[in-house]
């Protein structure tokens, strides 16, 4: 495998940049599209399968500037149109090209609150980078301007240079906002409501904050210290955090309003109810939901064998069912935990896989094997009730279904046996029922997702919701976008209340 080391990439960029700096502002588009796309430095695959350290190492200053110079500063900004939170992409990229990193950071922060996270986990190839003019000109999405990597570069630069500023907080309004869940949706609401001067309490069921960012997405993709930093900033702003607090159980949601005096509640409890295939053998020992497997490894730190009290199942041959980010994370984690063979079994083809492209590429480099157009039929156990194999079926692509993707159709009599001792089911999540079970006043759809209006308000006054609990399992950036919208509505509602109270006094 030709793995370029970060030193090589850094050196190449250092030499290359000299040529472009002199003509930074007067290159023709054609010339810009010929600037070589910068490869992301990464840990050597052979090494990284033995550690949890981050795989992608981040651009050097020179790499970032060269990559930024590839941007054409289009008048019709398709990248911005395709960004869920409408970051002014060409503007921040132009600052990077000119080495004005602080300005670049300011531009991103006008629209996004968690750039270090989004830069790492957003599916850019189906968002901002999908219709980038450079990618189009070069007829390859992979050659689009690497917007995500540049976003990450800026966020990391800010952190490394200690330039992260604590956002200004307006004077106390005396209003109280309860945020349920500390995933990206909740964290964003906390930040936006705190800035307006409201008292904000975040309630989290787990002992650690961050939601899926902490318990689901592994360290090798999103290091914990990045989440810690975001939470530190929120604490410094005066946001209060209550961990080990399950709203609905430790305290009823309505009690937060009726007894504890909260003026608004935001529900950001995430998807978090794992789906299974409902096939024979799914409860055998050695079958896990991806949520369980990853929570043990990440949140409970089972990766650190010897130190952690939480055990993780010892596996040699692992089958992962699914084709999304969760499947990639599970497969790569299993490899790092010592599995010799890891197979991703997906019933469509690579093109339909919803996982980020970069993760699929990284998984392949790490020796994960992909079995496309196949799916589990049943899981077979031994006399001790443990997994010994999985029976699979082959599929072919048929007519397109409602989503426009060609529907996989089973090929009859195509059964075959895959010898595995562990099966990780990563076919998606349904919505967490805790809140709807204990607060029936809140309307949900048939999948249990909370129904909201265009301001994210639920069927109950003062209660808002957003993120995966509304969208079904979605993305960090969409959760963040919903959080911002909800916070704006909460802030508006509370401001109106304050003004009404003032008017009544006069």
């Amino acid at each position: 495998m030709d793995h370029k080391t970060s030193e090589q990439l850094a050196e190449e960029a250092k030499q290359l940049i000299v040529e472009y700096i002199s003509k930074i502002d007067d290159m023709k588009p054609k010339e810009r599209t010929h600037i070589p796309a910068q490869e992301m430095p990464s840990q050597d695959p052979l090494e990284r399968i033995h550690n949890l350290d981050e795989v992608a190492l981040g651009y050097t200053v020179e790499q970032a500037r060269i990559e930024a110079m590839r941007c054409l500063q289009c008048v019709k900004k398709t990248c911005v149109d395709d960004c869920p939170v409408k970051i002014d992409i060409p503007r921040f990229i132009n600052h990077i090209a000119h080495s004005e990193f602080e300005n670049a950071a300011a531009v991103i922060k006008e629209a996004s609150l968690l750039p270090a996270i989004c830069g790492r986990v957003c599916p850019q190839e189906v968002q901002c980078q999908q219709n980038c003019t450079v990618g189009k000109a070069l007829k390859d999405v992979d050659k689009a301007v690497a917007i995500g990597r540049l976003e990450r570069f800026i966020a990391d630069w800010e952190r490394a240079t200690g330039k992260i500023s604590i956002p200004e907080v307006k004077p106390e309004t005396g209003k109280k906002v309860a945020v349920v869940g500390s995933g990206p949706a909740g964290l964003v609401v906390a930040a936006d409501c705190k800035r307006e001067g409201h008292h904000v309490t975040v309630f989290e069921a787990f002992h650690k904050l961050g939601g899926v960012l902490r318990y689901g997405i592994p360290e090798f993709r999103l290091p914990n210290n990045i989440i810690d930093k975001e939470i530190e900033t929120l604490s410094a702003m005066g946001v209060e955090f209550k961990t080990n607090f399950v709203v609905g159980k430790t305290r009823k949601l309505m009690d937060l309003i009726n007894k504890d005096g909260y003026n608004a509640v935001f529900i950001g409890t995430g998807a978090g109810l794992p789906l299974f295939m409902n096939i024979e053998g799914e409860n055998l020992v050695g079958v896990f939901s991806a949520n369980e497997y990853l929570t043990r490894a990440n949140l409970m730190r089972a990766f650190e064998k010897g130190k952690a009290d939480t055990p993780i199942y010892p596996s040699k041959n692992v089958a992962v069912l699914g084709g999304g980010n969760v499947a990639m994370d599970s497969a790569r984690m299993a490899k790092r935990l010592g599995a010799e063979n890891v197979y991703v079994v997906y019933r469509r083809t690579e093109v339909e896989m919803p996982a980020r492209k970069e993760e699929v590429a990284h998984a392949k480099e790490e020796g994960i094997e992909f079995y496309f157009l196949q799916n589990a039929k049943r899981i077979l156990g031994n006399e001790k009730g443990k997994v010994r194999a999985m029976e699979c079926l082959r599929y072919e692509l048929g007519e397109p279904d409602n989503s426009g993707r060609r529907r996989p159709v089973v090929i009859s009599n195509s059964e075959f046996i895959l010898e595995v001792d562990t099966v990780i089911v990563a076919i998606g999540n349904s919505s967490n029922p805790l809140i709807s079970q204990t607060t029936p006043e809140i309307n949900v759809n048939k999948w249990g997702n909370i129904l909201v209006d265009e301001t994210q308000k639920t069927s109950v006054d003062k209660i808002f919701a957003g993120g995966d609990i509304v969208l079904g399992a979605a993305t960090v950036i969409l959760a963040m976008g919903e959080g911002r919208r909800a916070a704006a509505a909460i802030n508006k509602m509370l401001t109106e209340e304050i003004e009404k109270a003032k008017a009544a006094l006069n």
Binding site: A205, F206, H207, K208, T243, N244, F245, V246, K249, T250, R251, K252, G272, L273, P274, F276, N278, E282, N283, L284, V285, G286, F288, S289, N291, E292, T295, R296, M300, R301, E304, G306, K307, A308, D309, T310, P311, Y313, P314, K384, G385, K386, N432, P433, L434, Q437
Partner: protein, 283 residues
Amino acid sequence: MSKILFKKQLSKDVYLMKLHAPLIAEERSAGQFIILQVDDDYGERIPLTIADANVDEGSVTIIFQVVGKSTHKLSLLNEGDNVPTLVGPLGKPTHIENFGTVVCVGGGIGVAPLHPIAQALKKAGNHVITIIGARTKELIILEDEMKSIADEFILCTDDGSYGRKALVTEPLKEICERNPKPNMVIAIGPPIMMKFCSETTRPYGVFTQVSLNTIMVDGTGMCGGCRVNVGNEVKFVCVDGPEFDGHKVDFDNMMARLNSYKEIEKELHTCYLESLIQSKESK
């Protein structure tokens, strides 16, 4: 974080602790459980049924048996120490009403979660028959508490060292044969005991409720680690339970799943015990 207000050793490996948790004390009902961790970073999540609660004191009582590394670490904590993670009350409360005659069967440490349920059933006007059992005399807990609630009280040990020499299923069978037969049985204890209680009552068609203690991680329905087959359905014990119809539970699968980590845990526990011995020796 929760302070340990009170600690008492009930038998060789069994401890009672009262933890400061005012919100949980206020919200909990019989049948619910908590999850705790002895260490915030590397600790394991241990689900334990709430044995009692005191709203005025803001306390919940847990009773646990030392079975591995994590419960051993918990047993080393003392009054005044803090348990860093305590969350609850989790699970659905027991459905309490006046059913008529209810047999409460508790095995070993299972008597602890049974006690508040028996208490609530008594209060609701039921005729409560209690059977408690253990391997041997030392392992009997809460005898007086259970006796004081019961309209009829039967105690047995496997080895005959105390009370009647029998498995709890023997008196249970006799009671099922009575006319009229009991309206309901609640059995809490080791899985094997709950399985055989369910088998005992099945021919008599007496509804038998069991409380399952599966492996858990989050306790909020997020991981599915606690899943069991109940009838033809897969249920999550932490949110759909912990109580289920014993005649429908697939106990064999549940027991196999409980043993998922047995080999590694044995290894870990041995290493842990060795390290304890070493550190003692070096002192």
